[in-house]
C-alpha cells in the first residue's frame, strides 16, 4: 500500500469537490426569512407595535386628562361630547384612560416575564449544567411553586403583601420563574449531553466559556419562545389582579381596575363598561399570535 503523498502538495488529492456554493444562511437569518414571509405574524406584530406605541405616547395623543372628573358627564355613551369611547363612572374620558392604562397593563405584563426569564433562565441553566444534587435541589424547590395554580399563587402573594403595582409585579415574577426555570433546565440538559460540549471541554475550555459560547446560543431559542408566550398570560393575570383590587390603586388607570369599577354600571352603559376588557382581549390575542409565529419561525430542526 504505497503512499503517493509527497511533502510538497500533500493533501490536494483529498480536496472535497464542493457543489456550487449556495447562499449560506445562518440560523438567525433563516428565522428572519421565515418571519418575513409569514403574513399573519407580521400583521399582528404590527398591531402589537401600534398598541405599545399608543401606550407610550399617551401623553401626546390622549384627547383628555385621564384624571379629570366630571359630575354631569358620568357614564356617557360613545361619542358624547367628544368622548370617542364614552366616560366612566366618575366622568373621566375612557379613551384617555385606556391609553394611560395601557402603560400600566403592558408593563405589568412585560416586566414580570423579563425578570422571570432572567432569574428562572439563570437557575435553569445552572441546574441543567451542574446536574446532580444542585439540579435536584433547584428543581424540587421550583416544584413546590408549581403545586399552586398560577392565579391562586399570584393572588396569594399579592394579597398577602397588600397589593400595589410593585407587589403585583413581584407576585407575577414568582409565578413565572418556575416554568421558565424548567424550560431552561430541559434545554440545557439536552445540550449538555451532546458531544460538542465534550469536545469543548477537551479543548480546555472552562465551564463559563462553554456555557457562554456553546450552551447559551442553543438554549436562548426555546427560552425566548416560551417567554414570548408568557407575555399574554402575564397581561391576563396582571389585569386579573387589578380587577380584584390587588394592582394599582385608584385613580391610576389600569384596564383590569377599570373593568372592576365599571362593573356596577353595566345596566347603564353596557358598551362602555365592556371596553377595557376589549383592550385586554385584543392585546392578549395579538401577543399570543405573534408568539405562535415566532415559535413557528424559530423552532425548526436543523
Amino acid at each position: 500500500m504505497a503512499d503517493i503523498v509527497t511533502l510538497d502538495r500533500p493533501l490536494d488529492v483529498f480536496a472535497e469537490q464542493a457543489p456550487p456554493a449556495t447562499r449560506v444562511r445562518g440560523y438567525w437569518q433563516s428565522v428572519f426569512y421565515r418571519l418575513r414571509h409569514d403574513p399573519v405574524t407580521l400583521v399582528f406584530g404590527a398591531v402589537v407595535l401600534a398598541i405599545v406605541l399608543a401606550a407610550l405616547s399617551a401623553p401626546l395623543i390622549a384627547p383628555f386628562d385621564p384624571y379629570k372628573e366630571s359630575i354631569i358627564g358620568r357614564l356617557k355613551p360613545f361619542g358624547w361630547g367628544g368622548h370617542l369611547l364614552g366616560t366612566d363612572e366618575l366622568g373621566r374620558d375612557m379613551l384617555s384612560r385606556l391609553l394611560y392604562g395601557g402603560r400600566v397593563s403592558l408593563s405589568m405584563g412585560v416586566v414580570p416575564v423579563l425578570f422571570a426569564t432572567l432569574i428562572g433562565g439563570m437557575l435553569g441553566v445552572i441546574g441543567g449544567f451542574a446536574g446532580g444534587r444542585v439540579n435536584t435541589a433547584i428543581m424540587r424547590t421550583m416544584d413546590v411553586f408549581y403545586a399552586f395554580p398560577s392565579v391562586l399563587l399570584a393572588v396569594a402573594i399579592a394579597g398577602a403583601m397588600g397589593g400595589g403595582i410593585g407587589n403585583g409585579m413581584l407576585a407575577l415574577t414568582m409565578v413565572f420563574t418556575p416554568p421558565m426555570c424548567r424550560v431552561a433546565e430541559t434545554a440545557t440538559t439536552q445540550v449538555r449531553s451532546l458531544d460538542y460540549i465534550e469536545a469543548a471541554r477537551a479543548s480546555g475550555a472552562s465551564t463559563a466559556m462553554i456555557i457562554r459560547y456553546h450552551v447559551l446560543g442553543n438554549v436562548l431559542g426555546p427560552v425566548f419562545i416560551y417567554a414570548s408566550s408568557l407575555v399574554s398570560v402575564s397581561i391576563l393575570l396582571a389585569s386579573g389582579l387589578s380587577f380584584l383590587g390587588l394592582g394599582v390603586r385608584p385613580p391610576t388607570p389600569d384596564w383590569g381596575l377599570m373593568l372592576s369599577t365599571l362593573r356596577q354600571s353595566i345596566y347603564v352603559v353596557p358598551l362602555v363598561c365592556a371596553v377595557p376588557g376589549v383592550a385586554i382581549f385584543i392585546t392578549s390575542i395579538c401577543f399570543n399570535l405573534v408568539s405562535d409565529g415566532l415559535r413557528a419561525a424559530m423552532d425548526v430542526r436543523m
Binding site: 503512499d3 503523498v5 472535497e16 440560523y27 471541554r201 477537551a202 479543548s203 466559556m209 442553543n218
Partner: protein, 349 residues
C-alpha cells in the same frame, strides 16, 4: 528519494525523551460507574487496562459494543476521571503533583468523536467551531479563525467554500473532516479517534482513512484508533489491542494479530467476518451467547462463559496478560498461554 525524505520523522519541539520513549503509557486504568438505585453495584467499564503507545504509531483498539472502548478513550483525555491507575505522557505523569496538568495534557492530545451529528454545535459556522480550540488556548479571534481556515484546507475542505457553512449543510464525510480539523487545530501530538468512520458510507470511509494516514505523516502525529470494525483497524493500525468487558485480552502487531490470533475471543471475532471466498471456511467454533452484563462480570476469566475452550480453572482465577517485551511482542491474556495455569491446553496454543 522524496519518499525517503518524507519518512524521516521530524522531532517535535515539545518532545522530551526522543523516539525511544513511549508517547503514552497507561497503567492499570480502572473506571467503575456506580449504578443508580442498586447500591454497591457498578458498571465495570474499564477494569485494569495497561498499554503503551509509541511515538508515530497507530494503536488500534478493537472490541464489541460495551467492552469499554469509549470509556477508555475518555479516560485518556481525563474527560472522565479514572478511579485508579495512571497515565504517563512522554515521561510525565498526568495529574500528578510534579507532572503534567490535565490542561497541559489537553494541549498535546485531542479527540475525534464518533457521532458527527452531535459533535458540532449546530448554531456555529464550521470555521468558528474549529477556531474555538485555539481561541480557548489563548489566540485572538482573527488569528484563531485564520488558523482554522488553514486546517480546513489541510483536511481538504476549501475554507472559502465551507468555512461559513453550518453543520446541517454538510455531508457526513465533510462533518467528520471538520471534526478532524477541530482536533488538529490546537496542534496536538496525539489524536484519539473514537469510531471516526463508523457512521460513514464505505466510499467516504476510505477517503477519510486515507486522509488520516496522510495527515499523520505530514503532521507527525500518533493515533489511538478505536473501532469495532476489524477491516478498518487492520488498514490503519500498526499495533492492535483487543478489549473484552473492560479488560485487555490481546495485544500485538497488526499482522501478527490478524494472521495468528492467540486469544479465543480474537479468533472468534476474526472468524466471524463474513467472507466471499469459499476457500476460507470457518473452522473455529463461533461465539455463543450474549456478552455478559458489565455490572456483574463473570468470575475469573471474563470470557469463560462464551469460550469453547473454557475449563474449571478459567472460572476460578483471572488470567494475567503475558509480559510485554517490546513493541514487537504479541501477548494474550488466556490460561492456555500460561504454562503454569493448570489448563489442559496450557503451553500448546
Amino acid at each position: 528519494m522524496a519518499a525517503v525524505i518524507a519518512q524521516i520523522p521530524v522531532l517535535d519541539p515539545r518532545d522530551c525523551g526522543g523516539p525511544q520513549q513511549p508517547l503514552l503509557i497507561a497503567r492499570d486504568l480502572r473506571k467503575h460507574f456506580p449504578v443508580k438505585g442498586a447500591r454497591g453495584k457498578s458498571v465495570q467499564a474499564v477494569d485494569g487496562v495497561s498499554f503503551t503507545v509509541r511515538k508515530g504509531e497507530t494503536l488500534g483498539i478493537v472490541g464489541e459494543s460495551g467492552c469499554g472502548k469509549t470509556t477508555l478513550a475518555r479516560l485518556l483525555l481525563h474527560l472522565v476521571v479514572p478511579d485508579a491507575g495512571e497515565l504517563v505522557f512522554d515521561g510525565d505523569a498526568v495529574n500528578a503533583p510534579d507532572g503534567l496538568s490535565v490542561n497541559a495534557l489537553r494541549r498535546q492530545v485531542q479527540m475525534v468523536f464518533q457521532d458527527s451529528y452531535s459533535s458540532l454545535n449546530p448554531r456555529m459556522p464550521v470555521r468558528d467551531s474549529v477556531a474555538f480550540g485555539p481561541f480557548i488556548q489563548g489566540k485572538q479571534k482573527p488569528e484563531a479563525r485564520e488558523l482554522a481556515c488553514d486546517i480546513l484546507a489541510k483536511v481538504g475542505l476549501d475554507p472559502d467554500l465551507f468555512g461559513a457553512r453550518y453543520p446541517h449543510e454538510l455531508s457526513g464525510g465533510q462533518k467528520q473532516r471538520v471534526n478532524i480539523a477541530r482536533a488538529l487545530a490546537t496542534g496536538p501530538r496525539m489524536v484519539i479517534l473514537d469510531e471516526p468512520v463508523s457512521a460513514l458510507d464505505k466510499s467516504v470511509e476510505a477517503q477519510v482513512l486515507n486522509l488520516l494516514r496522510a495527515l499523520k505523516r505530514q503532521l507527525n502525529l500518533t493515533y489511538v484508533f478505536i473501532s469495532h470494525d476489524l477491516n478498518v483497524v487492520r488498514y490503519i493500525s500498526d499495533r492492535v489491542l483487543v478489549m473484552y468487558l473492560g479488560r485487555v485480552v490481546e495485544l500485538g502487531p497488526v499482522d501478527a494479530i490478524f494472521k495468528d490470533p492467540r486469544h479465543p475471543y480474537t479468533r472468534a471475532l476474526l472468524a466471524s467476518r463474513p467472507s466471499m471466498d469459499p476457500e476460507r471456511r470457518i473452522e473455529e467454533p463461533p461465539i455463543t451467547g450474549d456478552p455478559p452484563n458489565p455490572i456483574d462480570p463473570p468470575p475469573g476469566c471474563r470470557f469463560h462463559t462464551r469460550c469453547p475452550f473454557a475449563e474449571a480453572v478459567c472460572e476460578a482465577t483471572d488470567p494475567t496478560l503475558e509480559l510485554w517485551q517490546g513493541p514487537e511482542s504479541h501477548i494474550a491474556s488466556c490460561h492456555m498461554r500460561d504454562p503454569g495455569s493448570g489448563h489442559s491446553q496450557a503451553g500448546n496454543a
